[in-house]
Amino acid sequence: MALESAPDDRLLKWSSSTPEAFAVFYRRHERVVVAFLGRLSRDPELTVDLTAETFARAYRARAKFDPERGSARGWLLGIARHVLAASREEGRVETEAREQLKMQTLRISTETLSSVERAVIEDGEMVVEEWLNALPDSERDAVRRRVLEDASYEQIATELACSQAVVRQRVSRGLSRLRRTVMEEQ
């Protein structure tokens, strides 16, 4: 079977002995991950950094991917969201997976940054909305405002006319549901 037409689980499996298999997997999902992270981070250079860590983690966790539990796209977006959330908490993008892989610092061209910006403008909103579609309306609004727009719980509570505790619960449930749905990295 040609690599280009192989299913995602095969590519991940083969990538243990054939690096080109992971390159095909990367090419297949790069745009979605970039659009997703770019839409949430709003910074092309940060997007590249987050994307690099996301794929490094995906490679590390490749044995955990189970196509019967969800798509590779959803799995990758789950990992991406974890990487983004950790970067917001720590004020920097984690490099653990890249360090494990002994990846070198990338020298990114302005041409690449321009491509990333274009991809985010063209597809960012659509990718994020598709990701949120797995949630009921109430949770979707709360997750969107909290995760995508960095709104405070107080602000969201005022907008949605409910208590902060309810907002926290909706965000928490929503993220748990997304984790279950997309089988995020353990």
């Binding site: 690096p19 490094a56 002994k102 020298r107 061209s109 321009s114 491509s115 990333v116 909103e125 909305e129």
Partner: protein
Amino acid sequence: MTLIPELEQELTRAITETIPARGRSRLRRLPVMVPVAATLAGTAAALAATGVIQLGSPERESSGRPNVAAEAETGLGTISPANSELLSLRVKDSGSLLPWGLRISRTSRGLGCVRAGLVLNGRLGALGVDGDFANDGFFHPFPTDGTPRLIGCVPLDSRGELFISASEADVPTSASALHRCTGAGAHGKVPPSALCAGANTRDIYYGLLGPRATSLTYSSGGTAHTIVPQGPHGAYLLVLPADPRDLNGVGTGLIPTGRPITEVTYRGGLVCRFAGGHPEPRSDCSTPPGSTYTQPSLKRLLATAPPTGITAAVSHGRHSAWSVTVSFEAPVAIPNALTAYSIELHNPGTPRSWGATSTETNLRRGQRVSISFSNLTRPGIYTGLVRLTSRPSNVVGLGLTGPVVGRFSARIP
């Protein structure tokens, strides 16, 4: 085509390193076909003279001839043979049959470009070897018309002079821009399918330092080398073995870029030093000595223009989402690539940007501009603004700073 080729390549390299050589599966190598005649004659010039290196089709990134008329007023603009010049600078490369050289061009939108490649009979191009052009062994000239490459173009200075420095890593010795492969000698272990078969790759650094430049010093193989910039433009071209630390990166700017370049001296004793590809912080080296750049006064331009109304129309877009089309009449003409209008859109209830884009075309004063933002799904009032912006020294992307032309809003149900 990947968005971040640097990341794809580094991931592949890093993963390859983790796999013991014995356990690594081997994919098919690209066929190696060295022109037989290369072993019969001494030099490429001799080969060319006897017709052994034949002329192939021009290297184009898309098939067919470019629509020069349509592209002349958009993007980078277009180049033409009349506005292009092959410089006399030649650099020998032991891995190539032909010497490397530089060609400079001026675009129809006021930019200056430089391109590096192999030279044969007064033309710049690439060879069909190492897997490129189906290994046909022919010389494929780079087009002298159409759209220039995105790499290697910057605004001209206010006197119309071109100062530029560019770098490209992992360039095949064929010099083709269409096929980026990886040299095994440079990177060690990479998937065979990504290798430049039977050849090494090069990191190339090139540009124009201006007539005042007297020397350029670079480091290669642990040794410092000094060269004299050539001709009235102060041209330089370094063709070095690919460094594994430079992962398919490219860069363009006004001042030298790239790790190997450490120092440039100018008439009058000025010395500009570089560390890690960046100039040391001193103001007289932040732009090329001898150049003059004056940014147009955008505020003054706008102040003399009549006010313009900006409308934002909402319509159904794809995927059950909405689109907002922003329209306005250009208050100021956009005559070239040095200025543009940028349009930003903000999410409902937040000043954060949903996205931004810019006009990339010449505009007459009063000409209608329409830009659409699609895939909007969040209900509420989107706000936005239009700015008049100028192009910084790097042509990729416009800065979002500049005076505000006007604001708009649109309600998504």
